[in-house]
Protein backbone atom coordinates (compact mmCIF):
# COMPACT_ATOMS: atom_id res chain seq x y z
CA UNK A 1 0.00 0.00 0.00
CA UNK A 2 1.15 3.48 -0.74
CA UNK A 3 2.33 5.31 2.34
CA UNK A 4 0.93 8.66 1.25
CA UNK A 5 -2.49 7.18 0.86
CA UNK A 6 -2.25 5.60 4.27
CA UNK A 7 -1.42 8.96 5.82
CA UNK A 8 -4.56 10.47 4.42
CA UNK A 9 -6.71 7.54 5.50
CA UNK A 10 -5.64 7.60 9.09
CA UNK A 11 -3.66 9.79 11.39
CA UNK A 12 -2.45 6.83 13.44
CA UNK A 13 0.71 6.62 11.38
CA UNK A 14 3.24 9.40 11.35
CA UNK A 15 6.36 9.19 9.23
CA UNK A 16 9.64 10.77 10.28
CA UNK A 17 11.94 12.62 7.96
CA UNK A 18 15.42 11.10 7.97
CA UNK A 19 18.14 12.53 5.80
CA UNK A 20 21.31 10.45 5.83
CA UNK A 21 22.74 12.18 2.81
CA UNK A 22 23.24 15.55 4.43
CA UNK A 23 26.89 15.53 5.60
CA UNK A 24 26.06 18.06 8.32
CA UNK A 25 23.66 15.77 10.22
CA UNK A 26 24.66 12.29 9.02
CA UNK A 27 26.36 10.05 11.57
CA UNK A 28 29.30 7.97 10.45
CA UNK A 29 28.25 4.31 10.50
CA UNK A 30 31.79 3.06 11.20
CA UNK A 31 34.93 4.82 12.30
CA UNK A 32 38.47 3.40 11.96
CA UNK A 33 40.32 2.57 15.18
CA UNK A 34 43.75 4.13 15.82
CA UNK A 35 46.76 2.08 14.67
CA UNK A 36 47.90 0.83 18.10
CA UNK A 37 44.37 -0.40 18.88
CA UNK A 38 44.27 -2.29 15.60
CA UNK A 39 47.61 -3.98 16.35
CA UNK A 40 46.50 -4.83 19.90
CA UNK A 41 43.37 -6.49 18.46
CA UNK A 42 45.60 -9.20 16.89
CA UNK A 43 45.70 -12.08 19.40
CA UNK A 44 49.17 -13.22 18.25
CA UNK A 45 50.58 -9.81 19.16
CA UNK A 46 49.07 -9.97 22.65
CA UNK A 47 50.40 -13.50 23.18
CA UNK A 48 53.89 -12.59 21.98
CA UNK A 49 53.85 -9.69 24.42
CA UNK A 50 53.00 -12.05 27.30
CA UNK A 51 55.76 -14.47 26.26
CA UNK A 52 58.26 -11.65 26.19
CA UNK A 53 57.24 -10.56 29.68
CA UNK A 54 57.61 -14.11 31.00
CA UNK A 55 61.05 -14.49 29.37
CA UNK A 56 62.11 -11.24 30.99
CA UNK A 57 61.01 -12.40 34.45
CA UNK A 58 62.86 -15.68 33.91
CA UNK A 59 66.02 -13.86 32.84
CA UNK A 60 65.98 -11.44 35.78
CA UNK A 61 65.33 -14.16 38.35
CA UNK A 62 68.04 -16.45 36.91
CA UNK A 63 70.61 -13.62 37.03
CA UNK A 64 69.65 -12.84 40.61
CA UNK A 65 69.90 -16.54 41.57
CA UNK A 66 73.25 -16.93 39.81
CA UNK A 67 73.19 -20.75 39.79
CA UNK A 68 73.35 -22.20 36.26
CA UNK A 69 73.04 -25.76 37.55
CA UNK A 70 69.58 -25.17 39.03
CA UNK A 71 68.22 -22.50 36.72
CA UNK A 72 70.13 -21.38 33.63
CA UNK A 73 69.08 -17.98 32.35
CA UNK A 74 66.82 -17.52 29.35
CA UNK A 75 69.66 -16.43 27.05
CA UNK A 76 71.85 -19.40 28.06
CA UNK A 77 68.96 -21.76 27.39
CA UNK A 78 68.32 -20.24 23.97
CA UNK A 79 72.04 -20.59 23.23
CA UNK A 80 71.99 -24.26 24.27
CA UNK A 81 68.90 -24.83 22.13
CA UNK A 82 70.55 -23.26 19.07
CA UNK A 83 73.76 -25.24 19.60
CA UNK A 84 71.89 -28.52 19.90
CA UNK A 85 69.88 -27.61 16.84
CA UNK A 86 73.03 -26.76 14.85
CA UNK A 87 74.82 -29.95 15.82
CA UNK A 88 71.79 -31.79 14.43
CA UNK A 89 71.30 -33.78 17.62
CA UNK A 90 67.94 -32.27 18.57
CA UNK A 91 66.63 -32.88 15.08
CA UNK A 92 67.74 -36.50 14.91
CA UNK A 93 66.37 -37.16 18.42
CA UNK A 94 63.06 -35.50 17.50
CA UNK A 95 62.91 -37.57 14.31
CA UNK A 96 63.23 -40.80 16.32
CA UNK A 97 60.47 -39.68 18.67
CA UNK A 98 58.14 -38.52 15.88
CA UNK A 99 58.60 -41.77 13.94
CA UNK A 100 57.53 -43.87 16.92
CA UNK A 101 54.77 -41.39 17.67
CA UNK A 102 53.25 -41.52 14.20
CA UNK A 103 53.26 -45.31 14.18
CA UNK A 104 51.55 -45.47 17.55
CA UNK A 105 49.10 -42.70 16.69
CA UNK A 106 48.00 -44.20 13.39
CA UNK A 107 47.73 -47.64 15.00
CA UNK A 108 45.62 -46.29 17.86
CA UNK A 109 43.32 -44.22 15.66
CA UNK A 110 42.76 -47.18 13.33
CA UNK A 111 41.96 -49.47 16.24
CA UNK A 112 39.54 -46.86 17.63
CA UNK A 113 37.84 -46.50 14.23
CA UNK A 114 37.34 -50.27 13.94
CA UNK A 115 35.97 -50.49 17.48
CA UNK A 116 33.62 -47.53 16.94
CA UNK A 117 32.19 -48.80 13.66
CA UNK A 118 31.63 -52.14 15.37
CA UNK A 119 29.96 -50.31 18.25
CA UNK A 120 27.49 -48.42 16.02
CA UNK A 121 26.48 -51.70 14.43
CA UNK A 122 25.05 -53.27 17.55
CA UNK A 123 23.86 -52.22 20.97
CA UNK A 124 25.99 -54.85 22.67
CA UNK A 125 29.02 -53.55 20.80
CA UNK A 126 28.26 -50.05 22.03
CA UNK A 127 27.89 -51.32 25.58
CA UNK A 128 31.20 -53.16 25.31
CA UNK A 129 33.05 -50.10 24.04
CA UNK A 130 31.39 -47.92 26.66
CA UNK A 131 32.48 -50.27 29.46
CA UNK A 132 36.02 -50.60 28.13
CA UNK A 133 36.50 -46.87 27.68
CA UNK A 134 35.19 -46.00 31.11
CA UNK A 135 37.55 -48.60 32.62
CA UNK A 136 40.69 -47.82 30.67
CA UNK A 137 40.25 -44.10 30.17
CA UNK A 138 41.19 -43.55 33.81
CA UNK A 139 44.18 -45.91 33.75
CA UNK A 140 47.20 -43.89 32.57
CA UNK A 141 49.02 -45.52 29.68
CA UNK A 142 52.41 -45.04 31.29
CA UNK A 143 51.32 -47.33 34.13
CA UNK A 144 51.32 -50.17 31.62
CA UNK A 145 54.95 -49.67 30.66
CA UNK A 146 56.34 -52.17 33.21
CA UNK A 147 53.91 -54.78 31.96
CA UNK A 148 54.73 -53.93 28.33
CA UNK A 149 58.46 -54.33 29.02
CA UNK A 150 57.70 -57.74 30.49
CA UNK A 151 55.65 -58.80 27.46
CA UNK A 152 57.52 -57.21 24.57
CA UNK A 153 61.01 -56.66 25.99
CA UNK A 154 63.19 -53.59 25.83
CA UNK A 155 62.49 -51.94 22.50
CA UNK A 156 60.13 -50.02 20.28
CA UNK A 157 57.30 -52.63 20.45
CA UNK A 158 56.82 -51.92 24.17
CA UNK A 159 56.56 -48.18 23.56
CA UNK A 160 54.21 -48.75 20.64
CA UNK A 161 51.95 -50.86 22.81
CA UNK A 162 51.72 -48.12 25.41
CA UNK A 163 51.16 -45.47 22.72
CA UNK A 164 48.35 -47.34 21.00
CA UNK A 165 46.74 -47.83 24.37
CA UNK A 166 47.08 -44.09 25.11
CA UNK A 167 45.44 -43.12 21.81
CA UNK A 168 42.76 -45.78 21.60
CA UNK A 169 40.50 -44.87 24.53
CA UNK A 170 40.17 -41.09 24.24
CA UNK A 171 39.73 -41.50 20.49
CA UNK A 172 37.06 -44.18 20.82
CA UNK A 173 35.31 -42.28 23.60
CA UNK A 174 35.03 -39.10 21.53
CA UNK A 175 34.04 -40.90 18.34
CA UNK A 176 31.30 -42.79 20.12
CA UNK A 177 30.06 -39.62 21.81
CA UNK A 178 29.99 -38.01 18.36
CA UNK A 179 27.94 -40.83 16.87
CA UNK A 180 25.43 -40.85 19.69
CA UNK A 181 24.89 -37.09 19.53
CA UNK A 182 23.91 -37.07 15.84
CA UNK A 183 20.45 -35.58 15.48
CA UNK A 184 17.73 -38.17 14.79
CA UNK A 185 16.48 -36.03 11.91
CA UNK A 186 19.81 -36.31 10.15
CA UNK A 187 19.73 -40.09 10.57
CA UNK A 188 16.23 -40.24 9.09
CA UNK A 189 17.37 -38.09 6.16
CA UNK A 190 20.17 -40.55 5.45
CA UNK A 191 17.77 -43.49 5.62
CA UNK A 192 15.37 -41.58 3.39
CA UNK A 193 18.02 -41.48 0.65
CA UNK A 194 18.10 -45.25 0.88
CA UNK A 195 21.62 -45.35 2.36
CA UNK A 196 22.56 -48.56 4.16
CA UNK A 197 25.56 -50.15 5.83
CA UNK A 198 29.02 -48.69 5.23
CA UNK A 199 27.75 -46.04 2.79
CA UNK A 200 25.47 -44.77 5.55
CA UNK A 201 28.37 -44.75 8.01
CA UNK A 202 30.79 -42.95 5.68
CA UNK A 203 28.40 -40.53 3.98
CA UNK A 204 26.21 -39.56 6.95
CA UNK A 205 27.46 -40.71 10.35
CA UNK A 206 31.16 -39.83 10.09
CA UNK A 207 30.70 -36.28 8.71
CA UNK A 208 27.87 -35.66 11.17
CA UNK A 209 30.08 -36.76 14.07
CA UNK A 210 33.12 -34.93 12.72
CA UNK A 211 33.35 -32.24 15.44
CA UNK A 212 33.74 -34.96 18.08
CA UNK A 213 36.08 -36.96 15.87
CA UNK A 214 38.37 -33.94 15.47
CA UNK A 215 38.30 -33.38 19.22
CA UNK A 216 39.20 -37.06 19.66
CA UNK A 217 42.12 -36.70 17.24
CA UNK A 218 43.43 -33.66 19.12
CA UNK A 219 43.02 -35.06 22.61
CA UNK A 220 44.54 -38.41 21.70
CA UNK A 221 47.46 -36.72 19.95
CA UNK A 222 48.22 -34.82 23.14
CA UNK A 223 47.90 -38.04 25.15
CA UNK A 224 50.26 -39.85 22.78
CA UNK A 225 52.81 -37.06 22.85
CA UNK A 226 52.92 -36.83 26.62
CA UNK A 227 52.94 -40.59 27.08
CA UNK A 228 55.78 -41.02 24.61
CA UNK A 229 58.02 -38.41 26.23
CA UNK A 230 57.32 -39.95 29.63
CA UNK A 231 58.04 -43.46 28.35
CA UNK A 232 61.30 -42.30 26.81
CA UNK A 233 62.35 -40.75 30.10
CA UNK A 234 61.98 -44.14 31.75
CA UNK A 235 63.39 -46.14 28.91
CA UNK A 236 64.15 -44.36 25.69
CA UNK A 237 67.04 -45.99 23.97
CA UNK A 238 66.88 -48.78 21.49
CA UNK A 239 69.87 -49.82 19.40
CA UNK A 240 71.83 -46.73 20.42
CA UNK A 241 69.47 -44.01 19.18
CA UNK A 242 67.16 -42.53 21.76
CA UNK A 243 64.40 -40.01 21.34
CA UNK A 244 63.70 -36.60 22.82
CA UNK A 245 62.77 -37.91 26.26
CA UNK A 246 66.00 -39.86 26.43
CA UNK A 247 67.91 -36.72 25.41
CA UNK A 248 66.45 -34.87 28.40
CA UNK A 249 67.24 -37.75 30.75
CA UNK A 250 70.82 -38.07 29.47
CA UNK A 251 71.57 -34.37 29.83
CA UNK A 252 70.21 -34.32 33.35
CA UNK A 253 72.70 -37.07 34.23
CA UNK A 254 75.47 -34.98 32.69
CA UNK A 255 74.25 -31.97 34.72
CA UNK A 256 73.75 -29.95 31.51
CA UNK A 257 70.70 -28.14 32.83
CA UNK A 258 70.54 -25.71 29.93
CA UNK A 259 70.29 -28.67 27.56
CA UNK A 260 67.50 -30.15 29.66
CA UNK A 261 65.60 -26.91 29.25
CA UNK A 262 66.35 -26.94 25.52
CA UNK A 263 64.88 -30.46 25.30
CA UNK A 264 61.74 -29.44 27.19
CA UNK A 265 61.46 -26.40 24.95
CA UNK A 266 61.59 -28.65 21.88
CA UNK A 267 58.79 -30.82 23.29
CA UNK A 268 56.60 -27.73 23.68
CA UNK A 269 57.57 -26.37 20.27
CA UNK A 270 56.71 -29.56 18.41
CA UNK A 271 53.38 -29.76 20.24
CA UNK A 272 52.46 -26.21 19.26
CA UNK A 273 53.67 -26.65 15.68
CA UNK A 274 51.57 -29.77 15.27
CA UNK A 275 48.51 -28.00 16.65
CA UNK A 276 48.95 -25.11 14.21
CA UNK A 277 50.04 -27.02 11.11
CA UNK A 278 47.71 -30.00 11.32
CA UNK A 279 44.72 -29.45 13.59
CA UNK A 280 43.99 -25.75 13.05
CA UNK A 281 43.73 -26.05 9.23
CA UNK A 282 41.78 -29.28 9.62
CA UNK A 283 39.25 -27.55 11.86
CA UNK A 284 39.12 -24.42 9.74
CA UNK A 285 38.33 -26.38 6.60
CA UNK A 286 35.77 -28.66 8.20
CA UNK A 287 33.85 -28.00 11.38
CA UNK A 288 34.27 -24.21 11.37
CA UNK A 289 33.37 -23.87 7.71
CA UNK A 290 30.30 -26.06 8.24
CA UNK A 291 29.21 -24.04 11.26
CA UNK A 292 29.27 -27.18 13.40
CA UNK A 293 31.43 -25.43 15.98
CA UNK A 294 31.92 -21.74 16.53
Amino acid sequence: MDVEELLIESDLIREFQIDNHDPATAIEAARPLPLWRRIWEISAVRKLFLLAVMALIWQLYAIKLGNTLVLPSFTVTVQAFLDALKSGELISRSAVTLKVLSMGYIGGVTAAAVLSVFAIGSRLGADLLDTLTSMFNVLPAIALLPLALLWFGLGTPSILFVLIYAVLWPMALNTLAGFSSISPTLRLVGRNYGLRGLRYVFLILIPAAFPSIVTGLKVSWAFAWRTLIAAELVFGVSSGSGGLGWFIYERKNQLETADVFAGLFTVILIGILFENIVFRPLERNTVFRWGMRS
Binding site: L188, N192, Y193, G194, L203, I204, P207, W290, G291, M292
Partner: protein, 269 residues
Protein backbone atom coordinates in the same frame (compact mmCIF):
# COMPACT_ATOMS: atom_id res chain seq x y z
CA UNK B 1 -5.68 -16.20 -1.40
CA UNK B 2 -7.63 -18.38 -3.72
CA UNK B 3 -7.52 -22.05 -4.54
CA UNK B 4 -9.21 -21.57 -7.86
CA UNK B 5 -7.13 -23.87 -9.99
CA UNK B 6 -7.59 -26.88 -7.75
CA UNK B 7 -7.58 -30.52 -8.72
CA UNK B 8 -7.29 -30.81 -12.42
CA UNK B 9 -4.99 -33.77 -11.85
CA UNK B 10 -6.87 -35.32 -8.94
CA UNK B 11 -9.89 -35.80 -11.18
CA UNK B 12 -8.27 -38.92 -12.58
CA UNK B 13 -8.34 -40.39 -9.06
CA UNK B 14 -5.32 -42.59 -9.41
CA UNK B 15 -4.54 -44.07 -6.01
CA UNK B 16 -0.93 -43.42 -5.06
CA UNK B 17 -0.95 -44.37 -1.42
CA UNK B 18 -3.30 -46.68 0.37
CA UNK B 19 -3.24 -47.00 4.15
CA UNK B 20 -5.23 -50.08 5.12
CA UNK B 21 -6.37 -50.71 8.67
CA UNK B 22 -3.04 -49.66 10.13
CA UNK B 23 -2.15 -49.81 13.81
CA UNK B 24 1.08 -48.26 15.02
CA UNK B 25 2.85 -48.86 18.31
CA UNK B 26 6.17 -47.71 19.62
CA UNK B 27 8.29 -48.51 22.62
CA UNK B 28 9.37 -46.08 25.30
CA UNK B 29 11.41 -47.01 28.38
CA UNK B 30 8.38 -48.11 30.38
CA UNK B 31 5.46 -48.32 27.95
CA UNK B 32 4.26 -49.72 24.70
CA UNK B 33 2.44 -46.70 23.31
CA UNK B 34 -0.33 -47.10 20.76
CA UNK B 35 0.00 -44.16 18.43
CA UNK B 36 -2.62 -45.04 15.80
CA UNK B 37 -5.37 -47.69 15.72
CA UNK B 38 -7.15 -49.24 12.75
CA UNK B 39 -6.72 -46.35 10.42
CA UNK B 40 -7.42 -46.36 6.69
CA UNK B 41 -7.28 -43.70 4.01
CA UNK B 42 -6.29 -43.26 0.40
CA UNK B 43 -4.16 -40.64 -1.26
CA UNK B 44 -4.85 -39.80 -4.89
CA UNK B 45 -2.45 -38.37 -7.44
CA UNK B 46 -2.18 -34.62 -7.06
CA UNK B 47 -3.80 -34.62 -3.64
CA UNK B 48 -2.77 -32.26 -0.91
CA UNK B 49 -3.92 -34.36 1.98
CA UNK B 50 -3.50 -32.87 5.44
CA UNK B 51 -3.38 -34.88 8.65
CA UNK B 52 -4.63 -32.44 11.27
CA UNK B 53 -4.63 -33.08 14.97
CA UNK B 54 -3.34 -31.92 18.34
CA UNK B 55 0.19 -32.73 19.52
CA UNK B 56 0.63 -36.37 20.43
CA UNK B 57 -2.29 -37.65 18.36
CA UNK B 58 -0.07 -39.96 16.32
CA UNK B 59 -0.17 -38.03 13.07
CA UNK B 60 3.60 -37.80 12.89
CA UNK B 61 3.90 -41.52 13.60
CA UNK B 62 1.57 -42.16 10.70
CA UNK B 63 3.79 -40.04 8.47
CA UNK B 64 6.87 -41.92 9.71
CA UNK B 65 5.18 -45.20 8.88
CA UNK B 66 4.49 -44.01 5.34
CA UNK B 67 8.12 -42.92 5.10
CA UNK B 68 9.11 -46.41 6.16
CA UNK B 69 10.79 -45.48 9.44
CA UNK B 70 8.11 -47.20 11.53
CA UNK B 71 6.59 -50.63 10.85
CA UNK B 72 2.83 -51.05 11.39
CA UNK B 73 1.95 -53.67 14.00
CA UNK B 74 -1.24 -54.41 12.05
CA UNK B 75 -2.53 -53.53 8.62
CA UNK B 76 -0.45 -52.47 5.65
CA UNK B 77 0.56 -49.43 3.67
CA UNK B 78 0.70 -49.70 -0.11
CA UNK B 79 2.56 -47.33 -2.41
CA UNK B 80 1.32 -47.80 -5.98
CA UNK B 81 0.05 -51.22 -4.96
CA UNK B 82 3.34 -52.34 -3.41
CA UNK B 83 3.73 -52.75 0.32
CA UNK B 84 6.13 -50.32 2.02
CA UNK B 85 8.87 -52.17 3.88
CA UNK B 86 11.64 -49.63 4.36
CA UNK B 87 12.55 -45.99 3.81
CA UNK B 88 13.28 -44.95 0.26
CA UNK B 89 13.74 -41.96 -2.01
CA UNK B 90 10.31 -42.44 -3.63
CA UNK B 91 8.88 -40.83 -0.47
CA UNK B 92 10.85 -37.66 0.17
CA UNK B 93 10.36 -35.97 3.50
CA UNK B 94 10.55 -32.40 4.79
CA UNK B 95 10.98 -32.21 8.56
CA UNK B 96 10.16 -29.47 11.00
CA UNK B 97 13.72 -29.32 12.32
CA UNK B 98 16.17 -26.97 10.65
CA UNK B 99 18.99 -29.50 11.10
CA UNK B 100 17.61 -31.73 8.36
CA UNK B 101 20.18 -30.30 5.94
CA UNK B 102 23.64 -31.85 5.95
CA UNK B 103 25.77 -29.07 7.49
CA UNK B 104 28.92 -30.21 5.68
CA UNK B 105 27.42 -29.65 2.25
CA UNK B 106 26.48 -26.41 0.54
CA UNK B 107 22.91 -25.65 -0.52
CA UNK B 108 23.61 -27.04 -3.99
CA UNK B 109 25.62 -29.91 -2.51
CA UNK B 110 22.73 -30.92 -0.29
CA UNK B 111 20.33 -31.28 -3.21
CA UNK B 112 22.92 -32.91 -5.48
CA UNK B 113 23.83 -35.40 -2.76
CA UNK B 114 20.17 -36.33 -2.30
CA UNK B 115 19.97 -37.16 -6.00
CA UNK B 116 23.27 -39.02 -6.36
CA UNK B 117 23.10 -40.88 -3.03
CA UNK B 118 19.57 -42.07 -3.58
CA UNK B 119 20.71 -43.87 -6.66
CA UNK B 120 20.33 -43.36 -10.28
CA UNK B 121 21.48 -39.85 -11.15
CA UNK B 122 24.89 -38.83 -12.54
CA UNK B 123 26.57 -35.81 -11.01
CA UNK B 124 26.17 -33.49 -14.02
CA UNK B 125 22.52 -34.33 -14.41
CA UNK B 126 21.95 -33.96 -10.67
CA UNK B 127 23.56 -30.52 -10.65
CA UNK B 128 21.25 -29.37 -13.44
CA UNK B 129 18.16 -30.67 -11.68
CA UNK B 130 19.27 -29.25 -8.33
CA UNK B 131 19.91 -25.80 -9.78
CA UNK B 132 16.52 -25.89 -11.50
CA UNK B 133 14.59 -26.62 -8.32
CA UNK B 134 16.64 -24.28 -6.14
CA UNK B 135 15.82 -21.59 -8.66
CA UNK B 136 12.14 -22.44 -8.27
CA UNK B 137 12.26 -21.85 -4.51
CA UNK B 138 14.12 -18.59 -5.05
CA UNK B 139 17.54 -19.64 -3.78
CA UNK B 140 19.61 -19.20 -6.94
CA UNK B 141 21.74 -16.61 -5.15
CA UNK B 142 22.69 -19.03 -2.38
CA UNK B 143 23.80 -22.16 -4.21
CA UNK B 144 27.25 -22.21 -2.60
CA UNK B 145 26.27 -21.06 0.88
CA UNK B 146 26.54 -23.47 3.81
CA UNK B 147 23.29 -24.19 5.67
CA UNK B 148 24.41 -22.53 8.92
CA UNK B 149 24.55 -19.18 7.14
CA UNK B 150 20.88 -19.38 6.07
CA UNK B 151 17.76 -18.25 7.89
CA UNK B 152 15.17 -20.77 9.06
CA UNK B 153 12.86 -20.04 6.13
CA UNK B 154 15.68 -20.46 3.64
CA UNK B 155 16.69 -23.78 5.17
CA UNK B 156 13.14 -25.05 4.78
CA UNK B 157 13.16 -23.89 1.16
CA UNK B 158 16.30 -25.94 0.53
CA UNK B 159 14.60 -28.95 2.12
CA UNK B 160 11.56 -28.45 -0.12
CA UNK B 161 13.72 -28.03 -3.23
CA UNK B 162 15.59 -31.20 -2.26
CA UNK B 163 12.32 -33.12 -2.05
CA UNK B 164 10.99 -31.77 -5.33
CA UNK B 165 14.26 -32.53 -7.12
CA UNK B 166 14.06 -36.16 -6.04
CA UNK B 167 10.79 -36.38 -8.01
CA UNK B 168 9.22 -38.72 -5.45
CA UNK B 169 5.81 -40.37 -5.67
CA UNK B 170 4.73 -38.45 -2.58
CA UNK B 171 6.19 -35.55 -0.67
CA UNK B 172 5.82 -36.03 3.08
CA UNK B 173 5.81 -32.90 5.19
CA UNK B 174 6.07 -33.07 8.96
CA UNK B 175 5.04 -29.61 10.21
CA UNK B 176 7.66 -27.98 8.00
CA UNK B 177 6.64 -24.42 8.85
CA UNK B 178 5.94 -24.85 12.57
CA UNK B 179 9.30 -23.47 13.69
CA UNK B 180 9.12 -20.38 11.48
CA UNK B 181 7.97 -16.92 12.46
CA UNK B 182 4.43 -15.98 11.48
CA UNK B 183 5.30 -13.77 8.52
CA UNK B 184 7.71 -16.27 7.00
CA UNK B 185 5.25 -19.10 7.58
CA UNK B 186 2.51 -17.33 5.65
CA UNK B 187 4.87 -16.60 2.79
CA UNK B 188 6.08 -20.20 2.67
CA UNK B 189 2.50 -21.51 2.62
CA UNK B 190 1.66 -19.35 -0.37
CA UNK B 191 4.85 -20.38 -2.12
CA UNK B 192 4.18 -24.06 -1.50
CA UNK B 193 0.75 -23.75 -3.16
CA UNK B 194 2.39 -21.87 -6.00
CA UNK B 195 4.89 -24.70 -6.46
CA UNK B 196 2.08 -27.25 -6.37
CA UNK B 197 0.22 -25.42 -9.15
CA UNK B 198 3.45 -25.20 -11.10
CA UNK B 199 4.73 -28.76 -10.69
CA UNK B 200 1.72 -30.72 -9.49
CA UNK B 201 3.11 -33.11 -6.90
CA UNK B 202 1.23 -35.32 -4.45
CA UNK B 203 1.61 -34.28 -0.84
CA UNK B 204 0.86 -35.65 2.60
CA UNK B 205 1.11 -32.81 5.08
CA UNK B 206 1.05 -33.04 8.87
CA UNK B 207 0.12 -30.03 10.97
CA UNK B 208 -1.58 -29.03 14.20
CA UNK B 209 -2.67 -25.68 12.85
CA UNK B 210 -6.27 -25.59 11.63
CA UNK B 211 -5.76 -22.53 9.47
CA UNK B 212 -2.67 -24.04 7.86
CA UNK B 213 -4.67 -27.18 7.05
CA UNK B 214 -7.47 -25.13 5.49
CA UNK B 215 -5.03 -23.05 3.47
CA UNK B 216 -2.91 -25.89 2.14
CA UNK B 217 -5.10 -28.97 1.89
CA UNK B 218 -7.68 -30.10 -0.60
CA UNK B 219 -8.62 -32.87 1.81
CA UNK B 220 -8.16 -32.80 5.57
CA UNK B 221 -8.24 -35.79 7.87
CA UNK B 222 -8.93 -34.92 11.48
CA UNK B 223 -6.97 -37.15 13.84
CA UNK B 224 -7.99 -37.37 17.49
CA UNK B 225 -5.60 -38.63 20.16
CA UNK B 226 -5.40 -41.40 22.80
CA UNK B 227 -5.15 -43.46 20.70
CA UNK B 228 -4.96 -41.79 17.31
CA UNK B 229 -7.96 -42.30 15.10
CA UNK B 230 -9.39 -40.48 12.11
CA UNK B 231 -12.45 -38.57 13.27
CA UNK B 232 -13.60 -36.88 10.10
CA UNK B 233 -12.64 -35.96 6.60
CA UNK B 234 -13.05 -32.42 5.35
CA UNK B 235 -13.08 -31.75 1.65
CA UNK B 236 -11.97 -28.22 1.02
CA UNK B 237 -14.03 -26.77 -1.77
CA UNK B 238 -11.93 -24.20 -3.57
CA UNK B 239 -14.86 -21.80 -3.77
CA UNK B 240 -15.83 -22.10 -0.13
CA UNK B 241 -13.90 -19.20 1.14
CA UNK B 242 -11.58 -16.44 0.13
CA UNK B 243 -9.19 -15.75 2.93
CA UNK B 244 -8.37 -16.37 6.55
CA UNK B 245 -10.49 -13.45 7.74
CA UNK B 246 -13.55 -14.75 5.92
CA UNK B 247 -16.61 -15.71 8.03
CA UNK B 248 -16.99 -19.07 6.30
CA UNK B 249 -13.34 -19.83 7.00
CA UNK B 250 -13.87 -19.06 10.67
CA UNK B 251 -16.98 -21.20 10.83
CA UNK B 252 -15.20 -24.21 9.41
CA UNK B 253 -12.22 -23.63 11.70
CA UNK B 254 -14.53 -23.62 14.67
CA UNK B 255 -16.29 -26.81 13.53
CA UNK B 256 -12.96 -28.55 13.13
CA UNK B 257 -11.81 -27.30 16.50
CA UNK B 258 -14.94 -28.62 18.18
CA UNK B 259 -14.63 -31.99 16.47
CA UNK B 260 -11.03 -32.38 17.48
CA UNK B 261 -11.29 -31.20 21.02
CA UNK B 262 -14.79 -32.44 21.87
CA UNK B 263 -13.58 -35.44 23.80
CA UNK B 264 -10.43 -34.08 25.24
CA UNK B 265 -11.66 -31.12 27.18
CA UNK B 266 -9.60 -32.40 30.12
CA UNK B 267 -6.39 -31.91 28.24
CA UNK B 268 -7.61 -28.61 26.93
CA UNK B 269 -5.04 -26.20 25.61
Amino acid sequence: MSIASIDSTAEQKKVILSVEDVTLEYLTQAHLVTAIVHTSFKLFAGDRLVLLGPSGCGKSSLLKAVAGHLKPTAGRILLNGKQIRSAGPDRAMVFQEFDQLLPWKTVLGNVVFALTASGNMKRKEAELAATHYLHKVGLNGFLHAYPHTLSGGMKQRVAIARCLAMRPEIILMDEPFAALDALTRQKMQDELLELWRDIGFTMLFVTHSISEALLLGNRILLVSPHPGQIRAEVTVDPNTFGSEGDTRFREISERIHNTLFRDIADYSI
